[in-house]
């Protein structure tokens, strides 16, 4: 499954969230990640995220799509991080 994950988290917890998400997905913009992930891995990620978040103040949204090819992506302006497995 291919997902886009965005979060809005209070400043003191945001660094933790960033570090967590970097392990599972590719960073593309501030508070935005995307990448290929399995069901189990996503559950794992959400479970960990819950521990960090304050339910009253923070939010995290995951957009799922079956495959990357069903996702049309447009970048306007500077692409902050190109995704490639050939570095």
């Amino acid at each position: 499954m291919y997902v886009i994950l965005v979060y809005d988290i209070e400043e003191k917890r945001v660094a933790k969230m960033l570090k967590l998400c970097r392990r599972y997905l590719n960073w593309i913009q501030n508070s935005v990640f995307e990448g290929e992930i399995t069901d189990v891995k996503l559950k794992e990620l959400i479970h960990e995220a819950r521990k960090i978040m304050d339910k009253e103040a923070d939010s995290l949204i995951v957009f799922k799509s079956r495959q990357a090819k069903w996702l049309e992506k447009m970048v306007i302006g500077k692409e902050k991080n190109e995704l490639d497995n050939i570095l």
């Binding site: 997905l25 590719n26 290929e36 992930i37 399995t38 891995k41 497995n85 050939i86 570095l87």
Partner: protein, 334 residues
């Protein structure tokens, strides 16, 4: 789905916040913007450029079951960092050694490997023969040689037959490939463009086999067709033999004939010919896409990637060695 990452840029790979951080370096040694590689998505790493790293990174990779394969400046495979074996099985090792030391058993497996490889080579030649490339002489020659496989008395004869098959097969490369001449197979260093491609893609194929063997209980040092030498994972050579025609050679044909790789992608120096970085990147990209391509598997009844096909081959071989099911080499059916 985990994927392979290919590192061409020189740089520093480090462990940071429990994931990987890659800081590219330019020619003057200045650091570029770091890129984070999500560790949970990494299957293995291939490094072509020079890589700085420390043991903390390797400890971490070991824990995450990620292996790193190294290639030198001349595109040779130089070695791998493998996390400690996690599928240890004494029973398997004993059975594998037994299958090796029993002459009859070893010959039987070796024959199947040669047969499978030859069959897949023929598939390629027939395919091109139907497309206005006259490879009939080579086809007939290989067919004649294949008949001798069941009667080979020992491994040496078998290796001889295999060598002859491969020679006829390589002769057909000149017919199949449009703008380049292969001539004789030359390595260390490769003498011309086609040889450079063959060497490079073959080493990728070898590494792939090794990687798949690692994920089974087979021991990569005990081989059947190739002599189990020292300091070499010779079982990977055995497995690669079957898949080279299908994965490596077809890729070479299409890259060269579609002009995706051209004269300018090669570097001719000092009687040798090597791929430039640009060419290498094109090849690696195509190779990676090829491995993730899927086909409908006949007996499994579901789609599997080419990469997984290699792993299935290892499973079949282990089943044969343990006496569960007779090994049938993979034969391309399309």
């Amino acid at each position: 789905m985990r994927k392979s990452y290919y590192l061409f840029n020189p740089g520093r790979l480090s462990r940071k916040d429990n994931t990987l951080k890659f800081t590219p370096l330019d020619e003057d040694g200045n650091e570029g913007t770091p890129k984070y590689i999500p560790i949970e998505s990494v299957d293995n790493l291939y490094t072509f450029g020079s890589l700085d790293a420390n043991s903390a990174m390797y400890n971490f990779l070991g824990k995450e079951q990620v292996s790193v394969h190294f290639f030198d400046y001349y595109e040779h495979y130089t070695g791998s960092f493998m996390p400690k074996d996690y599928l240890l099985a004494g029973k398997m090792l004993i059975a594998q050694s037994e299958a090796y030391s029993n002459k009859k058993k070893r010959k039987q497996i070796a024959q199947k490997l040669v047969d499978g490889a030859a069959f897949n080579m023929l598939k390629n030649l027939r395919y091109y023969n139907n497309r206005d490339k006259d490879t009939l002489t080579q086809i007939e020659r290989i067919e004649a040689l294949m008949l001798r496989i069941p009667f080979a008395e020992d491994i040496e004869t078998l290796m001889g037959i295999e060598g002859n098959i491969r020679m006829s097969y390589y002769a057909a490369f000149n017919v199949i490939i449009n703008d380049f001449e292969m001539g004789n197979r030359s390595k260390q260093p490769p003498g011309n463009e086609v040889n450079a491609m063959v060497s490079f893609v073959n080493s990728m194929c070898y590494t792939l086999s090794l990687d798949m063997i690692y994920h089974t209980q087979l021991n990569p040092t005990i081989s059947f067709l190739h002599q189990p030498g020292e300091r070499r994972y010779s079982l990977a050579l055995d497995i690669a033999e079957i898949f080279k025609p299908l994965l490596a050679d077809r890729l070479i044909f299409s890259l060269l004939n579609r002009k995706q790789v051209q004269q300018t992608d090669f570097d001719n120096r000092l009687n040798s010919c090597l791929l430039k970085d640009s060419g290498r990147k094109t090849v690696v990209k195509a190779w990676d896409e090829k491995l993730n391509e899927t086909i409908k598997h006949r007996s499994l009844g579901r789609s599997v990637s080419y990469k997984h096909l290699v792993k299935l081959e290892c499973y079949k071989l282990s089943k044969h060695i343990l006496g569960i099911e007779e090994y049938k080499p993979f034969r391309a059916w399309w």
